[in-house]
Amino acid sequence: METRSIKRRRIAELLVNDDVVETTIDRLSDLPDALLHQIFLLLPIKTVAQTSVLSKRWRSLWITYPDLDFTTLDSSLVSAVNHLEPRLLTAWQSRIISQVLSIREKNTYIRVLRFRATISFSLLNSLIRNAIRQNVRQLEVEVGTKDYFNFPRCVIGSESLRVLKLKSRYPGFRLPPVSITKDGFKSLQTLSLSLVILYDQPFISDLFSDSSFPSLKKLCLRACVGLKSLHVGCLALEDLRLKNCFHMQSLDVSCAKLERLRVVDCFNSYSEKSWVRINAPKLQHCIWDYNRVTDVTIIEHSKFLREASIGFFILPKEFSMGKLLSVHNLLSGLSEAHSLTLESQSVEILSNNKFFSMHLRPFCNLKSLELHAVLKKSNVHGLACVFRSCPTLHSLILRIINDYKTERKQWNRDLWDVANTEEEQFWESQIQTLKLFLQHLKVVKIYGFLECEDEVTLAKFLLNHAKALEEMILCGGRFNSRDYLRRQKIRSQMKGFSRASSNAKLAFH
């Protein structure tokens, strides 16, 4: 029997010496199809296609390759100018797609077909029909056409299709009537539509319902032009996203399994009777951003809610009592959240309306709060109002928006100056009502901290009174040289502020 050391040496030699026989054998071609297809996935489709002329084995690999991603054809151009929308293939280049589809092995399926192209509608339709015939599972298409563009109806009856993403660059497409989609889309799990022209059918009430889309889990609608009213009631739906549906006036979501809801940049029309009703008892994540405040909001509680983010697009002086109630309902509906972000317009609404200082419902589970706000006098009341409603908050993130419109007053006081400013007096007067908040707060991060009076006052108040505070981080961005000395002086002064918590660390970034 060999000793271990000899064995070790032999193994080392194995590694050093080239095995002469080994090097001349084509081992790669012997790998199983699935493994080589896995390698193909890492290559642009052009390279994959080229391998088809290597040998018969590789040709058969190519004509059975299930992941046809033609967007890699122009990847070099995208990375060079990635702020632009990716380039569409020209009509001439698009012919390659139909050639590739036509030479495929019979009885193989297509896992993914993905392309971006400028093509005629008839070519688009024939490509999709061909893919459906080959049992495509995931179809992702982005198209610009010079003629008309209808929803390709051949996808409706497909039993293999799991994912359909259809994006029109121009001119936009229309949806087929419900009578045709009914009992279709048997296996579809993800549907994403972009630039849909709905002037002719502004009310979608029974398309996204129990009978159509029985398996749909994820629905994403972007730029539905002309859509006024939308009802979504799919039984299996877990994720709903709406974006840029400007004309929307009413939204009715009633989905027992919905976990994620994201509505951005909707309800921008000037209608008088906009309303939202959301009944999603399993909701976990909700993003409501840059929407105009609807006249009526009804949102059912979800005890599973983890994360919510609320922002609005508001026009000055448009606030009626009805709209206040609507904001109130939205906030109350999301009051079970563990993590909440309020965008600047939400903070403005809370600050400018006394109504909320009386009626804002407490966020009893809230552990993490992020506020985006312009720090000005009126908003300080809004902040106090929000803090009051967060009795068990752990972590507060404040992003101060420093725009040129807001005049900021510099902090200009000596440490031994005992006279309180008006603002300090205000915060001191809140100690009683903020008692619970000050008992639980552990971490404070303030971004955009420029050592102005408002933020230094707030930081001082929190240092003085937050009993459980562990960490306060103040991020101020870059100094300009003119300000350097002044800001350094304020910082060293702040380090001397008394702290209610002996563990509290103060750091500047």
Binding site: I11, L28, V53
Partner: protein
């Protein structure tokens, strides 16, 4: 298996013995199952065989031992960065001869990290290469007849993608 065992012995398909630490073996699901099922204590005679040849197994074990500390404890970004560099160096060896074996071994041993790394290495060797270069690198024999080749050239879109 007693918890005191820190390394186990396995046999390669060539019959050589190899030591692999328990934490490194955990990177592979089948090895992990073996750890649970088979007795690995010192007085146990049975040494399990892994269907991977010695030359490949050395590399696989080298990879496991390097990656085990991170997989078991999680690591900082700088460690991850260092590991990435190590991976690149690791794959620089006479890879074309042994790459096939490493791919098969990673597949057989369910080692996701090594599998991805090996696939990426194979893909990088093909990227930007002409057909004849790829044939040369991987010793792929052209088995098309000249008529077939002519036909391919005429109808195949693969060569007309520009």
């Amino acid at each position: 298996m007693s918890s005191s065992v820190e390394a186990i012995t396995v046999l390669s398909s060539d019959g050589d013995e190899f030591k692999i630490t328990v934490s490194a073996a955990k990177l592979s699901k089948p090895l992990n199952w073996m750890l649970e099922d088979v007795c690995f204590s010192d007085d146990c005679d049975e040494v399990p065989t892994i269907e991977v040849n010695s030359k490949t197994l050395v590399k696989v074990i080298e990879y496991c031992e390097k990656h085990a500390p991170r997989a078991n404890s999680g690591a900082s970004d700088s460690d991850a960065e260092e590991l990435k560099k190590w991976d690149i160096e690791f794959m620089k060896m006479d890879v074309k001869d042994i790459l096939f074996h490493i791919l098969m071994a990673a597949n057989y041993l369910h080692m996701e990290g090594l599998y991805d790394l090996a696939c990426q290495t194979a893909a990088d060797l093909m990227k930007g290469m002409t057909v004849s270069q790829i044939r040369k690198i991987f010793h792929i024999k052209n088995d098309f007849s000249s008529e077939e080749q002519e036909q391919l050239r005429r109808q195949h879109p693969g060569c007309s993608f520009d």
